[in-house]
């Protein structure tokens, strides 16, 4: 046989690396985060609130791996305990945005033209403001606090979800399977709930996963500006807000929470984008 190959099959007899190391690192980071959320006390070496003025501003050492802050509290412990509120705010805000956005989008997609127009113009107005500015406006209106922070970040992300769900709904409401269900004589609401909603929401869930990173950043940014959790609580954004004052002599105070936020957001985005690629049937 003199057959010759036009294209050579790749990577035979080489060491098998994980297909995408970045993806594995992202999952590893997410795993660590979830551990920190689930068992903060088991992981952290000391009490995050235990202040000791004599130990203030310790640089990273073998006793305090990441150093201490201005009140002598262990930074590692604070970071670990901070994972729960930081992630919770991001997740809750995303859920608020997703829920409201889906409802709006579904309504607009199914409603008669004039209502669709009305809802979507309202969404356009929201969309015209930058997310963070919108969140700030909402906080100024409703006041400070964790729950208002969640609402603010959540509402700011509504337009994105609403637009996508509406577009999906518009396609799906004329899909063959929806018309088939109508011809079977199912009630309109039943058709919407069993066929339109689940199919419209599916791609939005992926967007939400990517948006989760954004929500965490936004929440941290608002905390940094002082609109979030009150000072003693370990929250990444709030930690950064305090650290800002000591940038010159204790830069690690700022570095660690900033790194934690960056890694978290990057990991979640990487995982979300991988999910998106898979759902689009692209090779990874």
């Amino acid at each position: 046989m003199t057959a010759s190959a036009l294209t050579h099959p790749t990577s035979i007899g080489r060491i098998i690396w994980p297909a995408r190391p970045g993806l594995w690192l992202a999952w590893g980071m997410l795993g660590l985060l979830l551990l920190a959320v689930a068992f903060p006390n088991g992981l952290s070496p000391v009490d995050p609130l235990a202040a000791d003025a004599r130990l203030a501003y310790q640089p990273p050492s073998s006793t305090f791996w990441l150093g201490t802050d201005e009140n002598g509290r262990d930074l590692l412990s604070r970071l670990i305990h901070g994972a729960r509120p930081s992630l919770f705010i991001g997740l809750a805000a995303t859920l608020v945005g997703l829920g409201l956005g889906t409802l709006l989008g579904l309504l607009a997609g199914l409603a008669p033209g004039w209502l669709d127009n009305l809802l979507m113009r309202a969404v356009d107005v929201l969309l015209a403001f930058p997310d963070l500015l919108l969140a700030l406006v909402i906080i100024t209106l409703f006041g400070q606090g964790t729950s208002n922070l969640i609402l603010a970040v959540g509402i700011a992300s509504v337009p994105r979800y609403a637009r996508l769900v509406r577009a999906q709904t518009l396609t799906i409401r004329h899909a063959g399977f929806v018309e088939a269900a109508v011809t079977l004589g199912r009630k309109p609401l039943a058709v919407v709930l069993t066929h339109v909603l689940p199919n419209a929401v599916q791609p939005v869930l992926i967007l939400a996963c990517i948006g989760l990173g954004g929500a965490i950043t936004a929440a941290a940014a608002l905390s940094f500006l002082g609109f979030g959790a009150p000072p003693p609580a370990p929250e990444w954004g709030a930690m950064m807000a305090v650290a800002r004052n000591f940038m010159a002599n204790a830069p690690w105070l700022m570095a660690w929470p900033a790194l934690a936020i960056t890694l978290t957001v990057t990991s979640i985005s990487v995982i979300g984008r991988d999910w998106l690629r898979r759902s689009e049937g692209r090779s990874v």
Partner: protein, 547 residues
């Protein structure tokens, strides 16, 4: 023949093997195409015919592993080409026409620019010469008003004109070989006939042509040599006369008989007595004076239906024929109550169906069910077959515990094994999907079934089987059907009555044998003449003796 064979073939393929991710799609294909001839690759979807054609232009994609003992075009070994050499070949010496003209033309570029591109890439013509050449090419492929058309975008052209433009871009550099992959599949019968005429003219000008098609009738007209492919192998090849009249391989024989079964044969006009006997049946569905106007994308209203009336009697099949845009699908949707007409009435079992409230309509919907053209789109992508059927059975009032048994019974009725119950429609073949769509419609025990192009997306042999199933069910359940199709062969086979539509109007209506056997309206005649013909099978001994 002997004169041609002394020259080396233009295309020489020996033992071609293509695999995707280790799965073989083409397994050892041998083909030769001589200059000035037309070779047709025929086979059903998934037979590897398109992939074989694409290896000649190096467009099998990055994941394909291509091997061949010989893969030569005009004496040049294609196995050793690099990307730059491929680019010189494609569009220059080999032209490629794809099935989907809308998909193959860039929506943001004017048609003229699209045709000019190969000239720009492969010739040294100046801008003005290129422009003149584009107009000349458009004229050659029979596009009226080339100056106007060259400045339009693909979506502004009709399907037939788009296909012509695509052919013009493929022949722009006068390639030695033109490859046409299903060039007429997406087109209406009359347009298909025009495109085939054009390809025939090109062939008459000494172009070599490689045609890929699933339709034997299309091939019969153009090809000198036919290769029948199945599961990545050429099961039989020979001259077109030999393949059509004396096929040796059982698969070719089956393909041919399936094609003949759904192929249009002009019926003999019946005796009047027969027509009268049929009319004794009670009228189940009646539409009067239906009119419907849609507002087009350009904001101008378009009359989709204009004063359409029809009658459907119990146990009968009404075939609705027309080209795309004739309003036949809209008619079906109005009958189903999915669309409201501006004027006219629809009566179902004596009841004015459109005057009912939405809720009342919902209650009576069970009696009239639908099967769509694209079976995959008509199932919720998340659902298994069991869930699809259960949804219908639930509406029909079957209690939860009995649904699996009932679903199995339905599958049996459409001749599917119960093992498909837990699979998703996506994992099934086109024919199986359409059977499930029929099973779902039957779950409601309907009196009327509206079938909108139910076999258009299927291979010929599968078409024949689905039509046989429909005929069986119709007889068994005394179903009345509205059968919407652009395919006269299919309509002729299933219909008792036929309604011919053009531009939203009914141009001819009557007993199937009457309308199709002795068409009165010129449009019906044009439709009938456009159907490509498959030569009649001669008894096999005739050709053997001749040889």
């Amino acid at each position: 023949m002997s004169l041609i064979e002394t020259q080396p073939p233009l295309v020489d393929i020996r033992d071609l093997r293509v695999a995707f991710n280790g799965v073989p799609v083409v397994r050892g294909v041998n083909l030769q195409l001589h200059a000035g001839q037309c070779l047709a690759l025929v086979g059903e979807s998934g037979s590897g015919k398109s992939v074989t054609a694409r290896t000649l232009v190096g467009l099998t994609g990055p994941r394909a592993e291509v091997q061949a003992q010989r893969l030569a075009f005009a004496g040049q070994d294609l196995r050793k080409l690099d990307e730059a050499a491929w680019q010189r070949l494609r569009g220059g010496r080999i032209g490629f026409v794809m099935q989907d003209a809308l998909g193959s033309l860039d929506p943001l570029r004017r048609v003229g620019a699209e045709i000019e591109e190969p000239l720009f890439l492969h010739t040294r013509l100046g801008a003005e010469q290129r422009r003149l050449q584009v107009l000349e090419l458009l004229r050659q492929v029979g596009v009226p008003e080339p100056q106007v058309r060259a400045r339009q975008y693909p979506w502004q052209l009709s399907g037939g004109l788009r296909q012509r433009a695509l052919i013009a871009s493929a022949i722009a550099c006068q390639p030695s070989l033109l490859i046409a992959d299903e060039p007429t599949t997406a087109l209406d019968a009359t347009v298909q006939a025009q495109i085939l005429d054009l390809l025939e003219q090109l062939r008459a000008r000494d172009n070599s042509l490689l045609m890929v098609s699933h339709d034997l009738a299309v091939v019969a007209r153009l090809a000198d040599w036919v290769a029948v492919m199945r599961h990545g192998e050429v099961v039989e090849q020979g001259s077109v006369e030999q393949i059509l009249q004396d096929p040796q391989d059982p698969y070719t024989q089956r393909l041919l008989s399936a094609a003949r079964a759904v192929h249009f044969q002009r019926p003999v006009a019946p005796a009047l007595a027969l027509v009268d006997a049929v009319n004794e049946q009670p009228v189940l569905l009646e539409a009067r004076g239906l009119s419907k106007v849609f507002v087009g994308p350009d904001g101008r209203p378009r009359q989709v239906l204009d004063d359409v009336s029809l009658q459907l009697r119990a146990g009968q099949t009404l075939g609705v024929v027309g080209e795309s845009g004739s309003g036949k699908s809209t008619l079906g949707r109005i009958l189903l109550g999915l669309e409201k007409p501006e004027q006219g009435t629809v009566a179902f079992a004596g009841q004015d169906w459109l005057a009912l409230s939405a809720e009342q309509q919902r209650q009576t919907r069970q009696g009239i069910q639908v099967v769509f053209q694209d079976p995959l789109a008509s199932f919720d992508p998340r659902y298994t077959v069991l869930r699809v059927l259960s949804e219908a059975l639930a509406r029909a009032g079957v209690p939860r515990g009995l649904r699996r048994t009932e679903a199995t019974a339905l599958l049996e009725r459409v001749q599917l094994p119960s093992s498909v119950l837990d699979r998703r429609p996506l994992e099934l073949s086109g024919g199986q999907r359409q059977r499930i769509a029929i099973a779902r419609a039957l779950a409601m025990k309907p009196k009327v079934l509206v079938l909108d192009e139910p076999v258009s997306a299927l291979d010929v042999s599968v078409q024949a089987r689905i039509l046989a199933l429909l005929a069986e069910l119709k007889a068994e359940l005394n179903l009345a059907c509205v059968f919407i199709s652009h395919d006269l062969g299919v309509v002729e086979q299933v219909s008792d009555q036929v309604l011919v539509m053009q531009g939203g109007k009914v141009v001819e209506q009557g007993a199937a044998a009457q309308v199709l056997g002795q068409p009165r309206h010129p449009y019906t005649r044009a439709l009938l003449e456009a159907v490509p013909s498959l030569p009649e099978a001669r008894p096999s001994w005739v050709s053997r003796v001749a040889v």
